[in-house]
Symmetry: C2
Subunit: 122 residues, 2 copies
DNA sequence: TATTGTTATACTCTATAACTATA
DNA sequence: TATAGTTATAGAGTATAACAATA
């Protein structure tokens, strides 16, 4: 049941990202770029392999949503910075997404009550 | 916040599926095979393109988790049936997954209360 | 030597378009 | 003509392994 809700939120998230012209994974990265982040830090935050982030960031850069710059403190590292276009995409996504409550709209009152009790009592 | 919980459940789901040696998408299909299903019905249930299900089922069949048979009522259609091995994988997944409550364990009591209120009142 | 990141490669999921076979 | 399914192709996400540059 909790799983069904998670699936529904996930679908809502995917659809919203698509409406903005980005993917779910790309949005997750954009969300973490309030400050420029090193690539390895992004990998830690997303709990995935650095090579995956390299690929992801390459697509974000290709689409003009981020810029890469050398870390002034470590010539090995790259800092990823969100662009103006990236900020617009992120903002648009958040507006469309709301707080995710829309994903609960398909649940009945009974289902919502049961779910709330489960979470509160978990 | 709701989104964070959904992400956490999603991760738990992915990790559990991986532990059983299948993918999240494959488990979702196995869950819908209490009765044999036609491929086009699986596509509807998963809300995805039939060609995606064709590919997915090919991998499930390769791994011995399902069998395909011609629908006796329609020579165009194929019925997908879960195998004994598939049932064991599904069972193991459900046992490891529990009811998904484990995904809530990282939330504080305050967070859980806030989330429960949001769901109940949504 | 250890860390940061990239490249090469491979696999899964997904979609679109063109196709075959059957209804 | 419409429906069920497949194949070809492509793009995204992910991982492993081997590698280069820097610390």
């Amino acid at each position: 049941m909790l799983l069904a809700v998670a699936e529904r939120i996930q679908s809502h998230l995917d659809a919203t990202a698509r409406a903005v012209g980005v993917t779910h994974a790309q949005v997750k990265v954009l969300m973490q770029l309030d400050q420029p982040q090193r690539l390895c830090d992004l990998a830690s935050l997303q709990d995935c392999d650095p090579s995956s982030i390299t690929a992801l960031v390459q697509r974000l850069e290709r689409d003009g949503l981020v810029q890469r710059e050398v870390d002034p403190n470590d010539a090995r590292a790259r800092r990823i910075r969100i662009s103006a276009k990236g900020k617009r995409s992120r903002q648009k996504f958040l507006e469309l997404m709301g707080d995710g409550r829309a994903a609960l709209d398909t649940l009945s009152a009974d289902e919502r009550a049961a779910l709330a009790a489960m979470i509160a009592g978990g």
